[in-house]
C-alpha cells in the first residue's frame, strides 16, 4: 500500500487552524525592545538634520538611531546576489539611509522603545528635515536620465542583458514573414500582500557572542550567509529560524533592511530586539512584483507558423537592487516563445531605477510576464489571420516527438505533450458550445457579452542546476540538502533544507519517505527552517521544493534502505540480492522465518552490536542533490468572462485548468497550489495594481484600496490534468507552485479582449477595471453596441 498519489489531508493544518503554530509576532521574548521605523514620506529627498529630542522625551523611548549612527554596524552594503552583467549598476545602499531617501518608505531612522505602542508613538516625535528632489516614476522617463537617482552611477540604467543566439536568423525571419505582430504590454506593479506581514526578532547572548534571529522569511539559510556578509557576525555564531511563516509568494525571498537593523540594535544595545511589520509598511517596504514594459514581435509564415520572436523589456528595479531583483526578468528570458517551436529568438532587457519601492521575485518571477506576452501575442496573431486561438496554438506547439527539445533560447525542455492537454481543456470548457453562445449574444446585441480566453503555458522551475545559475552570474547554487534518520525506536526524522511557508512540505515529505521506508506517515517528523537543526539548504522559491528538495529526500531514503538491507543480509546470513523489501519488512523468499523490519534494523544500527565489518553505526543518510536540468510543467487554462457593457464590469464566470506537472505526490496539495495560483493571476488581470502618482506616492497602501480578490469574486474552478513524467528526477515530478499564476493572467485578459473584439478593441491595460473597460467601449463608440446608453 502506497500513499504517494493519494489525497492525504495536510498534517500541518490542525496546528495552523487552531492557532498552535507560532509566527514571529507570537514569540514571547522577555525584555525585548520594540523597533519602529521612521520612513521617508518623500519619494526622493535629501536628508538634512534629524531632531529626535521630542521622541527621546516620550514615555518608553530609549534610543533613536540614524543612518550615520548605524553606519559602523554594517561591513558591506545591502546585498544583491545576482549581478547579471559585469557592468551592472548597483547603487550602494544601507539599511538606514545615510543622506538621501529614494522611495516612500525608505528608512531614515529607527526608534527603540520598551513597547510596540511607545515605539510607534516615538516615530511621530522624530523631526526630519527633508529637502525634496525631483522624482522619477515612469520607466521611459527614467531612461532619459532627466533626473538621475544615484549620483555615483551617473545614470538610471542598471543593465542591459541580451539573449540573441542568432541575430541574422531573426532578421531573416522578419524579412520573409507573411504575418508580423507587434505588441506592447504593460505589467503593472503588484503588492505581494502575504497574509502574515514580515517580522524579525533577535536574541543576543552578549557573553557567548551568539545571536538567534527569527524572521518571517522563505530563506533562513541564505539569510544566514547574507547576514554574515553584511553585518559581519561570524556565521557560526548565527542561528536563523523561520518559525511558522504565513505566505511569501517571493516577497520573503529577500534580505531586508529590518532584519539587519534588528540584528544591529540587539548587538549594539545587547538586548533582545524585535519588529513586526504593519500592513502599510508591507505595501511600501516589502518588495513589489512585476513592473515592466514589454515589446514583443512575432514573425509568422502564411500558415501562421511562428518563425521568430523578438522581445524587448524595460524593467523597473525600483529605488535599489534587492537580493535577486536583476535576475527576475531573466527567469522569463528563455520563455518568451512559450511552448511553441520557434527557430529564431531575440530577447533583450534593460532595467532602470525609479523612485519607487524596490521590485523582486513575485510568484512566477519572470515567467508570468513571459507567458503573458507570448500568449497575448499569439491571440493577436490569430486575430490577424482570422483563425481561432486554439488553432494558432496547435499549429505551433513543439511536437511531442521533439522531446527532449532544444529551445532557441538554449534550454532543453525535458518532456511535453501539449496538444492532448489543450484538447482536454477545450472539451471541459465546452468550447464550441460557448463560441456559439458568444455569436448569439453578439448577434442579439446583448448588453452582456461573452469572452473566451486561452493560455497554454510552459514554465521552467525546479531552480536550479548550479552550473546554469553560474552562467547567469547568480551568486549561489541550486542544490538542496536532506537527511533521513530512522531513530533507535523506529520512528523517522526527515531534515530538509527547503523552508515551507504554506506549501504543505511536512505532508508531502512524509508521504515520500513513508513509501520508501514502508512506515506510517504519522511516524515521520519533518524538521526544517532552523539553521541549528537543518544547517544547510537553499530554501523555498521557484517551484523547487519537490523537484529538487524532494529528490534529495528520496535519494537519502533510498540510501537508508540500502544500508538497512546490508545489515539485514549480514544478520540473516543471506545475500543482499535474496532479500525482498516491502512494507518496511525485509524477507527472504522461501524462508518465512527469516525477516527483519526496518525499525528493528534501526535499533541494530543504534546498538552497533552486530554490524558488518567497517560499517558506521546508526541508520542515517544525508544527500545534497544538484539537479541536472530544470523541470518544465505545462498546461492549458481557459477563462470565460462576461462583460456588462453598460458598466464595463468583467465577471469571471468559468475557469478550466488542465495542468501537467508530471507525477503528482499529493493531488490535493497540487490542486490547492493551482487554486491559489489562479486566484493570484486573476488578481493581476482584473483587480490589483500598486498605483503611484507623479510624486512617487503610493495611492493604495491599504487592503481597503489595494484590491486583493476574495472567493466572492472567483468562480469555482474546474481542474483536470494530464501526466507527462519528467525525466529530470526519479519521481518524474515537476513543480506546480507558480503554474496557476503563470497561466491565468493571459487567459483572463485574452477572454476580456475576445469579449470586446466586436468593438475593435485589441488591448486593455491591466487590471481591466470596470472604468477602463467602459472607457475603451466609449472610445470605440461606433454605435454598433448599446454600451454606455443607460
Amino acid at each position: 500500500m502506497t500513499v504517494v498519489g493519494t489525497r492525504m489531508v495536510r498534517k500541518e493544518d490542525p496546528e495552523l487552524l487552531t492557532g498552535e503554530s507560532r509566527f514571529v509576532d507570537d514569540l514571547v521574548i522577555p525584555g525585548a525592545r520594540w523597533l519602529a521605523m521612521v520612513r521617508s514620506p518623500h519619494a526622493h529627498a535629501r536628508i538634512g538634520s534629524i531632531d529626535a529630542s521630542e521622541a527621546l522625551a516620550m514615555p518608553g523611548v530609549e534610543a533613536v538611531l540614524t543612518g550615520p549612527d548605524l553606519r559602523d554596524a554594517w561591513v558591506a552594503p545591502m546585498p544583491c546576489a545576482w549581478p547579471v552583467t559585469d557592468d551592472m549598476g548597483n547603487p550602494e545602499h544601507f539599511p538606514v539611509a545615510l543622506d538621501k531617501a529614494c522611495y516612500v518608505g525608505d528608512i531614515v531612522a529607527v526608534v527603540v522603545a520598551d513597547s510596540r505602542y511607545h515605539a510607534a508613538d516615538g516615530v511621530d516625535g522624530v523631526v526630519v528635515d527633508y529637502e525634496p528632489l525631483d522624482v522619477v516614476v515612469d520607466l521611459e522617463d527614467s531612461l532619459t536620465d532627466r533626473v538621475v537617482i544615484h549620483d555615483a552611477l551617473g545614470t538610471n540604467r542598471s543593465y542591459t542583458w541580451e539573449l540573441i543566439p542568432d541575430p541574422e536568423a531573426v532578421d531573416q525571419a522578419f524579412a520573409s514573414a507573411v504575418h508580423v505582430v507587434k505588441e506592447r504590454y504593460l505589467q503593472q506593479r503588484l503588492i505581494p500582500a502575504a497574509m502574515e506581514p514580515r517580522g524579525v526578532a533577535v536574541v543576543p547572548q552578549p557573553h557567548g557572542g551568539e545571536f538567534t534571529l527569527w524572521s518571517a522569511t522563505q530563506i533562513p539559510h541564505v539569510l544566514k550567509v547574507m547576514l554574515t556578509a553584511t553585518a559581519g557576525v561570524p556565521e557560526h555564531k548565527l542561528r536563523v529560524v523561520a518559525p511558522a511563516v504565513g505566505g511569501g509568494f517571493g516577497s520573503k525571498l529577500n534580505v531586508y533592511a529590518e532584519e539587519l537593523i534588528t540584528l544591529a540594535v540587539a548587538r549594539q544595545l545587547r538586548v533582545p530586539a524585535r519588529w513586526t511589520e504593519e500592513r502599510g509598511e508591507n505595501a511600501h517596504a516589502t518588495i513589489q512584483g512585476r513592473g515592466q514594459i514589454q515589446d514583443i514581435e512575432l514573425a509568422a509564415d502564411a500558415d501562421g507558423k511562428v518563425t521568430a520572436v523578438r522581445v524587448h523589456l524595460l524593467a523597473d528595479m525600483g529605488a535599489y537592487l534587492q537580493l535577486v531583483a536583476p535576475g527576475i526578468p531573466l527567469l522569463g528570458a528563455f520563455l518568451y516563445h512559450g511552448l511553441y517551436d520557434v527557430p529564431a529568438y531575440s530577447f533583450t532587457c534593460t532595467s532602470v531605477f525609479t523612485n519607487k519601492t524596490p521590485t523582486d521575485a513575485y510568484r512566477g518571477a519572470g515567467r508570468p510576464e513571459a507567458t503573458y506576452a507570448i500568449e497575448r501575442a499569439m491571440d493577436a496573431l490569430a486575430r490577424t489571420m482570422g483563425i481561432g486561438p486554439d488553432e494558432v496554438r496547435r499549429r505551433n506547439f513543439i511536437p511531442t516527438e521533439a522531446f527532449p527539445y532544444n529551445s532557441a533560447g538554449g534550454l532543453v525542455f525535458d518532456s511535453g505533450d501539449y496538444a492532448p492537454n489543450l484538447a482536454k481543456a477545450l472539451d471541459l470548457v465546452r468550447w464550441d458550445e460557448r463560441k456559439a453562445e458568444q455569436a448569439r449574444r453578439r448577434e442579439a446585441g446583448d448588453p452582456v457579452q461573452l469572452g473566451l480566453g486561452i493560455s497554454t503555458y510552459v514554465e521552467m522551475c525546479g531552480l536550479a542546476p548550479s552550473r546554469v545559475l553560474a552562467s547567469l552570474k547568480y551568486g549561489a547554487g541550486g542544490w538542496e540538502a536532506a537527511q533521513v534518520r530512522v531513530l533507535p525506536t523506529g520512528t523517522v526524522q526527515v531534515v530538509t533544507g527547503a523552508t515551507p511557508h504554506g506549501q504543505g512540505h511536512e505532508t508531502t515529505w512524509s508521504m515520500l519517505v513513508a513509501d520508501k521506508l514502508g512506515v506510517d506517515t504519522d511516524d515521520i517528523e519533518v524538521l526544517h527552517s532552523d539553521t541549528a537543526i537543518s544547517p544547510i539548504g537553499m530554501d523555498t522559491y521557484g517551484s523547487r521544493s519537490l523537484a529538487v528538495g524532494g529528490t534529495a529526500i528520496v535519494m537519502a531514503a533510498d540510501q537508508v534502505v540500502d544500508k538497512a538491507r546490508t545489515i539485514a543480509a549480514h544478520q540473516l546470513e543471506v545475500a543482499e540480492e535474496d532479500l525482498d523489501f516491502a512494507g518496511g519488512l525485509f524477507t527472504v523468499a522461501g524462508s518465512p522465518d527469516k525477516e527483519l523490519s526496518i525499525q528493528a534494523l534501526a535499533f541494530e544500527a543504534f546498538t552497533a552490536h552486530d554490524l558488518p565489518d567497517g560499517m558506521e553505526p546508526n541508520l542515517h543518510a544525508s544527500v545534497s542533490w544538484d539537479p541536472p536540468n530544470f523541470v518544465f510543467p505545462f498546461g492549458s487554462h481557459i477563462a470565460v468572462v462576461e462583460i456588462d457593457t453598460d458598466t464595463g464590469h468583467v465577471e469571471l464566470v468559468d475557469y478550466v485548468a488542465v495542468d501537467d506537472c508530471g507525477n503528482q505526490v499529493n493531488p490535493l496539495i497540487v490542486e490547492g497550489q493551482i487554486h491559489g495560483g489562479i486566484a493570484q493571476g486573476v488578481a493581476q488581470a482584473l483587480f490589483e495594481e500598486a498605483v503611484y502618482d507623479e510624486d512617487g506616492i503610493l495611492k493604495n497602501p491599504t487592503l481597503m484600496d489595494y484590491l486583493v480578490p476574495s472567493t466572492m469574486e472567483l468562480p469555482s474552478f474546474t481542474l483536470d490534468h494530464t501526466t507527462t513524467p519528467s525525466p529530470t528526477n526519479p519521481m518524474g515530478a515537476k513543480g506546480i507552485g507558480e503554474a496557476g499564476t503563470i497561466a491565468s493572467t493571459p487567459a483572463v485578459m485574452n477572454a476580456v479582449v475576445d469579449a470586446l473584439s466586436p468593438y475593435g478593441i485589441t488591448d486593455i491595460d491591466m487590471p481591466a477595471t470596470p472604468e477602463r473597460v467602459w472607457q475603451a467601449i466609449q472610445a470605440a463608440g461606433d454605435g454598433s453596441s448599446n454600451g454606455g446608453t443607460p
Binding site: R116, Y117, A120, D121, E278, R279, G280, D646, T647, H649, F687, V691, K699, N700, T702, M704, D705, L707, P709, S710, M712, E713, T769, P770, E771, W774, Q775, G788, P790
Partner: protein, 273 residues
C-alpha cells in the same frame, strides 16, 4: 496600524452613555461595532481621547412593530436585520441592503446606528433610509428628538447629532407590497459601493444614492420623474442631476454619474417603471 493612546469607558445603560458623553465632551467618540471608527484610529486619521463603548447595550438592539413604522434599535447589527422576519414583511429593502454590507464578519459586528451616525456617503444604509423616508431618534441631556433622514446627513462624515446626543432608534415607514430595488456596484463583494442606488415606490418614489457626493443623497429629479410616470430610461437620464461625485482610485466623477444612471435605470425597471 497602531492607534494613539486613548481612554476606554464601557457603559451599561443609555443613561450612563449620555452621562459619559457630557462628562468627556467633544474628545469622546461612541464605539458601537467599531467597523468605521477603529480603522480610522489605527491609521491615526482619528484620535479620540476617550472611547465610550455602547456595544453591549442590549436595550438598543431590537426590531419592533411601531404601528405605521418598524422601530429598529440603533445597536442592532446588520446580520440581525438581514435575517429579521418583520423587516421581510414591512421593510424588505432595508433587510436586503443590510445583507449587502461588507462580509459576514462585518455584519455580525457592525450596527445600523453606527453606520448611520458615521454619515459616510459610501455606506449603504444611509441611502436606504433616505429612500424610505425614515426618521431617526436621538437622545441627549435635554431629552429625545426625532430627525428626518433628509435632515440628518449634513456633510462629509457629518450628521445633525449633537456631541452629547446618542442615536437610539431608526424608524422606517412600513412598505408592505411596495416595489423596491437595491443596486450596488463594486469591484469586490466586501467593499463599499462605488455607486449604489436604493429605490422604493411606497406611495411616492424614493431614491437614495450611495457615494454620489460628500453626503448620502436623494435623486430628487429622478424621484419626480418616476412619480410622473416616466420610463426607466427617462428616470435614469436625470438620476445624476445635482450630484457631486468625487474622483478616486475606483472611479472618476464622470464614470460615477454614468453608473448612477445605469443603476437607477435598472432599479426603476425592477420596480416596474
Amino acid at each position: 496600524m497602531i492607534p494613539l493612546a486613548f481612554d476606554y469607558v464601557r457603559v451599561d445603560s443609555t443613561e450612563a452613555a449620555l452621562d459619559a458623553l457630557v462628562e468627556h465632551g467633544e474628545d469622546a467618540k461612541l464605539l458601537a461595532g467599531g467597523h468605521s471608527l477603529l480603522p480610522l484610529m489605527k491609521l491615526r486619521l482619528a484620535a479620540p481621547s476617550v472611547l465610550i463603548d455602547v456595544g453591549r447595550l442590549d436595550e438598543l438592539s431590537y426590531v419592533r412593530d411601531g404601528g405605521d413604522h418598524v422601530a429598529i434599535g440603533a445597536l442592532t447589527c446588520h446580520h440581525d436585520l438581514e435575517t429579521n422576519d418583520l423587516l421581510a414583511d414591512q421593510a424588505p429593502l432595508l433587510r436586503h441592503a443590510a445583507g449587502q454590507v461588507g462580509d459576514p464578519q462585518v455584519r455580525h459586528c457592525g450596527t445600523i446606528g453606527g453606520s448611520i451616525a458615521h454619515g459616510d456617503p459610501a455606506s449603504d444604509l444611509p441611502a436606504v433610509l433616505l429612500a424610505c423616508r425614515a426618521t431617526v431618534v436621538a437622545r441627549g441631556p435635554g431629552g429625545e428628538r426625532t430627525i428626518a433622514a433628509d435632515d440628518f446627513f449634513t456633510g462629509f462624515l457629518e450628521t445633525a447629532l449633537e456631541p452629547t446626543e446618542l442615536l437610539t432608534e431608526i424608524r422606517v415607514p412600513k412598505m408592505a407590497g411596495a416595489a423596491w430595488s437595491f443596486q450596488k456596484f463594486n469591484r469586490r463583494a466586501q467593499d463599499w459601493a462605488i455607486v449604489g442606488v436604493a429605490l422604493v415606490r411606497n406611495g411616492s418614489a424614493g431614491i437614495g444614492l450611495v457615494n454620489m457626493g460628500p453626503r448620502p443623497l436623494r435623486a430628487t429629479a429622478a424621484e419626480a420623474a418616476l412619480d410622473a410616470g416616466a420610463t426607466a430610461a427617462e428616470v435614469a437620464a436625470v438620476a445624476a442631476d445635482a450630484t457631486e461625485p468625487t474622483d478616486d482610485l475606483n472611479a472618476t466623477a464622470d464614470y460615477r454619474r454614468h453608473l448612477a444612471q445605469v443603476l437607477v435605470r435598472r432599479a426603476a425597471q425592477a420596480a416596474g417603471a
